[in-house]
């Protein structure tokens, strides 16, 4: 049973309640309990109403059908409640007697107890008083024994007798009283018995009544329920019958309709059939005529065909004859061909054997050649090894010879300078300044300076910047051989700082924590070291490339925004920005160029630097740094790959400057000075001749000879 059903079913019991309720709790009652109860009921009722509303929509449909169905259910429920109540009331009525008897018994017991208590009290009192009296009497007996006079004795006996009689009387009275009580109790007992039998009779009566009642009501309710069911069944039957009849009628009507329709259709079809038949007949006739005509034509054609066939037969017979002849010829040819084939087969076999032989031969040849080749390769490798070895030795030798020669030359130069100095100081009385040339400082063969690592450069730079800060103007970058021309140190530093600040993510967090206590510069250095290792920048060149890249990027940005820059540069930069392959080439070129230009930059670097105001790095937006870095790393990959062959080339020394160097060494004493010396020499010669002239007269004393000697020797030594 679904909940709505049960709700329906419980409705009657509500009605029952209403009818039976005498003390419905009301909100205006004086009793607070009752008011609370009433309010609770009201709230519950409201909640229920709301719930029903919510459910109402889909309950409505059900309810209607249920109302019919629930008639019997209602009746059942009603009967059940009625019967339950009847039973309850009946049992209460019957048990009421028991309860009444119980309470009577309790009362009786209480009373009995009270009476018993009183009786015992009374008896005890009696015992006490009688004991007293008895004692009195016994004490008097003692007194009597002392009496001598009979009269007195008699008197005393009399009184004693009286006393005893009194005592006996008291006892008797008590006994009679008790007996009286017993009698009344007996009466009471009889009464009680009667009462009990009455009660039992009443009980029986009531039970019987109850049984009768219950039976009657049960029968009634059964009858009611049956009636309800019957009514419901009748209703159901009637409704079903109605429905059935309606359906039957509808069915009949439909049947009739269908019949009519069918009749009509049959007629229609008959008509159509007739029409069709006529039409078919006509058509049949037409086709028949047509077919007959066709037959005639076909017969004619057949005749024709037959004629053709005969002709053909004759032709074919002739052909057959011809073919037979041909066949014979063919057999002859065939035999000839067979013979030919046999011959050719022989030739083929011969050729095959020859071919096989040749293959063998060539294989052998090939083997020998490959072994030769291997041997040669081995030899070549050995040769290379030897070459390398010799190259090293040669280098060493070259160096030694160079050093020796240089030493010699330097000695000579030193002597020349010495002489020059002596000439200047002693003879000319002029102050002498030692000439300063780059090649004087050079020791060993001229070669590329070893490439510094990027970090070293940075360190240097930072150190330098530190010094700069300390003594701003004193030292100008005269020795910055390593920096490429366009880039000032400041720019580089700024760019590197920027990089350092922006790409902190490349540094490990551990390192960062370690760096905290360090000085700023050191901190930068270590950071940059980490960043470079992350980016894969190893050498100086890479570093400059990076800086260049930054600058170019910025320039490109400027050009793209302002469009004032010459288009050529812009195009180069664009190329460098976009096409990494071409750019790498460009950079290669740049690199080699830079190497070449290193010495020139000595002289020209400063000028050009000043000319080309370097693009300032603070124009580079910090946000762009990452993009630039990305592009740079992408670009850097390629040159790395093409590095290996480059290394080999580097080993080849260029000796273009050697002659220059040595030439320069020869011209350590410039021609002007030689002229001076020549002039001096002539002057000195003159001086000597004059001295000689003077000397002759003074030959006797030898000391001027000593004086003139040394300068001569000097001059001679120089020549």
């Amino acid at each position: 049973m679904n909940p709505p059903g049960s709700l329906e079913a419980l409705d009657p019991n509500v009605d029952e309640h209403l009818s039976t309720q005498i003390l419905a709790p009301s909100v205006h009652s004086d009793n607070s309990q009752e008011r609370i109860q009433a309010r609770r009921l009201r709230i519950a009722a409201r909640l229920e109403a709301r719930r029903r509303e919510a459910l109402g929509e889909y309950l409505d449909g059900k309810k209607e059908s249920e109302e019919d169905q629930s008639k019997s259910y209602k009746q059942k429920e009603e009967s059940r409640l009625k019967l339950a109540k009847l039973l309850l009331c009946g049992t209460e009525l019957v048990t009421n007697i028991q309860v009444a008897i119980d309470i009577r018994e309790i009362h009786r017991r209480v009373e009995e107890e009270e009476i018993k208590r009183q009786r015992i009290e009374k008896l005890e009192n009696e015992v006490k008083t009688s004991q007293d009296k008895f004692n009195e009497i016994t004490s008097k007996w003692e007194e009597g024994k002392q009496k001598r006079i009979p009269q007195e004795l008699w008197e005393m006996l009399n009184t004693q007798q009286l006393h005893c009689a009194g005592l006996l009387e008291d006892k008797n009275k008590l006994i009679s009283e008790l007996q009286q009580e017993l009698k009344t109790k007996d009466d009471q007992y009889v009464k009680d018995l009667k009462k009990q039998s009455d009660d039992i009779c009443l009980l029986l009566e009531r039970m019987e009544e109850q049984v009768k009642n219950v039976m009657k009501t049960f029968r009634e309710e059964l009858y009611n329920i049956e009636k309800a069911f019957e009514v419901e069944r009748q209703e159901l039957l009637a409704s079903n019958k109605k429905k059935w009849e309606r359906a039957l009628q509808a069915h009949n009507a439909k049947e009739l309709e269908y019949l009519n329709n069918r009749m009509k259709k049959v007629e229609d079809y008959e008509k159509q059939l007739n029409r069709q038949r006529i039409w078919d007949c006509e058509e049949y006739n037409m086709i028949k005529i047509k077919l007959e005509q066709d037959v005639q034509i076909l017969e004619q054609q057949l005749q024709q065909r037959k004629a053709i066939y005969q002709l053909n037969q004759e032709k074919l017979e002739y052909n057959l004859q011809v073919l037979k002849k041909r066949d014979e010829e063919n057999t002859v040819i065939k035999s000839q061909q067979k013979r030919k084939i046999n011959r050719l087969q022989d030739i083929l076999n011969n050729l095959r054997s020859k071919y096989a032989k040749q293959i063998k031969q060539f294989q052998e040849e090939n083997q020998s050649l490959t072994s030769d080749y291997k041997r040669l390769v081995m030899q070549f490798k050995e040769l290379q090894k030897a070459m390398r070895h010799f190259a090293l030795i040669d280098d060493a030798k070259f160096r030694e010879i160079w050093l020796m020669n240089e030493e010699e030359a330097k000695d000579l130069i030193a002597r020349a300078f010495d002489v020059d100095r002596i000439i200047h100081t002693h003879h000319l009385g002029l102050p002498w300044a030692a000439p300063d040339f780059w090649f004087l400082n050079n020791v060993g063969p001229i070669s590329q300076q070893p490439q510094k690592s990027a970090t070293q450069i940075v360190e240097e730079m930072l150190m330098r910047s530190e010094e700069e800060e300390a003594e701003e103007a004193t030292s100008e970058p005269e020795s910055y051989l390593d920096l490429p021309k366009q880039i000032s140190e400041k720019t580089t530093k700024r760019i590197l700082m920027l990089l350092c600040d922006e790409s902190g993510f490349l540094i490990e967090s551990k390192l960062l924590s370690l760096l905290l206590p360090l000085e700023q510069n050191e901190c930068y250095l270590l950071r940059l070291d980490a960043i470079f290792s992350a980016l894969g920048i190893e050498s100086e060149d890479d570093l400059y490339k990076l800086v260049n890249f930054f600058l170019k990027y910025r320039a490109h940005r400027l050009s793209s925004s302002l469009q004032i820059k010459p288009c050529s540069q812009a195009s180069v930069e664009k190329a460098s920005m976009e096409e990494t392959s071409t750019r790498s080439e460009l950079e290669l070129a740049e690199q080699t160029e830079m190497e070449g230009e290193k010495e020139e930059s000595l002289v020209e670097g400063e000028k050009e630097e000043e000319e080309e105001t370097p693009p300032s790095p603070w124009v580079i937006h910090p946000n762009d740094v990452l993009k630039i870095l990305e592009a740079f790393v992408m670009g850097l990959k390629k040159p790395r790959d093409s590095r290996a062959p480059l290394r080999v080339q580097k080993n080849v020394r260029d000796n273009s400057k050697d002659s220059e160097y040595w030439q320069a060494l020869t011209t350590v004493i410039p021609s002007s000075k030689q002229n001076l010396w020549d002039a001096l020499y002539t002057a000195l010669e003159k001086y000597q001749s004059t001295l000689n002239c003077k000397f002759l007269p003074l030959r006797c004393c030898g000391y001027p000879q000593n004086r003139a000697g040394p300068p001569k020797a000097d001059v001679l030594g120089l020549a």
Partner: protein
Amino acid sequence: MQDTVTTSALLDPSHSSVSTQDKSSTGGHTSSTSPQLSKPSITPVPAKSRNPHPRANIRRMRRIIAEDPEWSLAIVPLLTELCIQHIIRNFQKNPILKQMLPEHQQKVLNHLSPDLPLAVTANLIDNENYWLRCCMHRWPVCHVAHHGGSWKRMFFERHLENLLKHFIPGTTDPAVILDLLPLCRNYVRRVHVDQFLPPVQLPAQLRPGDQSDSGSEGEMEEPTVDHYQLGDLVAGLSHLEELDLVYDVKDCGMNFEWNLFLFTYRDCLSLAAAIKACHTLKIFKLTRSKVDDDKARIIIRSLLHHPVLEELDLSQNLIGDRGARGAAKLLSHSRLRVLNLANNQVRAPGAQSLAHALAHNTNLISLNLRLNCIEDEGGQALAHALQTNKCLTTLHLGGNELSEPTATLLSQVLAINTTLTSINLSCNHIGLDGGKQLLEGMSDNKTLLEFDLRLSDVAQESEYLIGQALYANREAARQRALNPSHFMSTITANGPENSVG
């Protein structure tokens, strides 16, 4: 056709007899009634014995048979019938039952006399119908429902009861009962005796004294007034489950003597030994027998640790606090489910000890202390015990001089307890306030179905409201029983419905 038949019949008599038989049977169809159909096949012997002579006649008489409406083969009694009659007649000497076909057995059983000696029938006949006839024959009113619906059991139980009721120790031969024992031991489950006659001396002297107007009162001081000793009987009954005894004498009329109603120590001791030995006993009742504390303790001691005892009824006796204490001990040392101490003399201490046992008991379902005098002290103790007890469902405290304090505690119990279904507090002095408190407690209770407060000075209003709450609980319980799955929903649906009314 007939000619051919006759010739063949003449040629082969044995065969013809069969054919004519068939003929006659088919011919008889038209005239005779249906019972004849089966008879020829069953009774070939009498037919053959008679046939040789009237064979020709039969053929000739066929037409006459058809015309004679009174002719019937049923006139002839069948041999089986005769045999069955004979068996029935001689059943006492030669009981044959099991060897027969079931239908014949039925027939025999239907005609056996109910007066047959039990020695013959007891272990032979299991048919309920026979025992029904026996019972109906002996007793005009029979409640078979009181005997487990078995007529045989009822017959034996009542027979035994009858014997015990009229057994007079000393005069009646104990063999009367002991002889019955092997016959009824498998069928008796319940022994209900509501009178035990005292030994013969008294009645023997009473009966003459009856005529001589009670002149022999002086000689009645013999101490040997012991009743029948149940030990042997109880030990013999292997299926005994219920023992319902009343040591009482009925219909003594004017021969009343206090001695008649004595339940002596020896009686008590022998009874205790008997029930102790009986391990199948489930229900033991000893009512209206003047059992005092000492005897109650003897009996209860014998019941301690009894394996199956479920119900103990010692109502209408003289048990006081000591007996109650014994009962309390029994509660904690047995599986007792029902304890009835109604109409005794238990007072507050006894009730307290019972309450103490009840507090931790998990077996007891029903406790009846009607018409005692436990008063508020005992009532409060019981109420305290009920706060922890989770088993008791029925409690009868009618007529115990309880008043408001007990009601207060009980109302608290009502709010907590979820097992109690029935409480009876009738005939107490609960008073108006107590009634209100009980009503309060009732408002939180959803399990109590019966609560009797008649004649206990409770206001009519509260009694009515309690009745309403009980009604709601009963409806809820009914719903729960009808469809346990919708328990919650019906509760919620019910609450408002009821509260509207």
